[in-house]
């Protein structure tokens, strides 16, 4: 089973990693065109995309940030495989989704820093730090001359 981010990063891999990496562009195209084709027909939520071959099958399912891919044996039960893949994708989506939501508002951080720098307390703190540093330097110079 593979879990990929929608922008092409391999999050977790068990299987033929090289094939998945090479297929990333086509996976993205398959996902977007599945959505467009389904939407054109008025079909809404896609559960999965199954690519069947003579040798084995590839099962794909995705959420907003995450794609899950599973290479499935020809005789495997697709319903069961989908349940497993979907639960992996849901979990990865929950983790990645919550990570993406914690975005740092850089403008707000800058504004807060400006406010701190302009405050009287901050100015006093800087002054006292400078005085302490001067005192330390003087003491060190006196020790050297002794």
């Amino acid at each position: 089973m593979f879990i990929l981010s929608r922008d092409g990063e391999l999050i977790s891999a068990a299987g033929r990693t090289a094939s998945v990496k090479r297929a990333m562009g086509d996976i993205a195209t398959a996902i977007s065109s599945s959505g467009e084709a389904a939407e054109a027909l008025g079909l809404k939520r896609i559960s999965y995309l199954l690519i069947r071959g003579a040798r084995s099958n590839v099962l794909l399912c995705w959420r907003e940030h995450v794609v899950g891919l599973m290479e499935v044996d020809k005789d495997a039960n697709i319903g069961l495989c989908f349940c497993e893949l979907e639960s992996g994708v849901e979990e990865a989506e929950r983790i990645l989704g919550s990570m993406i939501q914690v975005e740092i508002d850089t403008e707000k951080v800058r504004e807060t820093l400006r406010e701190i720098e302009e405050s009287e307390v901050y100015k006093l703190l800087i002054k006292s730090q400078a005085a302490r540093s001067k005192k330390r330097k003087k003491a060190s110079a006196d020790e050297t001359s002794d």
Binding site: A23, S34, E36, A38, A40, I46, I51, R55, V58
Partner: protein
Amino acid sequence: MSVRSAIEEMLREVIEHVGLLGGAVITSDGFLIAHVLPENVDGREFAAYITRLYRSCIRIAALFELNFFDCAIECEEGKLYVAPVSDRAFFCLIVDPYLDIGLLLLEIEGFARRIAQLLE
């Protein structure tokens, strides 16, 4: 009868016999040959999307050495089943969500072969 009309008639037959919601036969480069789609669906737009999906599935199958057979999208309200007719064309069927794909495969056996013969 033109090839287009003959294929459309075959599509109608399969749709009625199996109980499908619609279908289309499309060339591998995205041209719509024949279709029986719901009235509100833009056939050419649908053909363009489904061709992109079909081609990417073929490439994914090649990378995984699957020996591509067909592909299907499962949605809550229905399924889309896509399979090749020949090297130059493929068909897409819109399937009722309660219809089993295995049964569908049995029913449409020979359908692709007849279309391929018409397109030759």
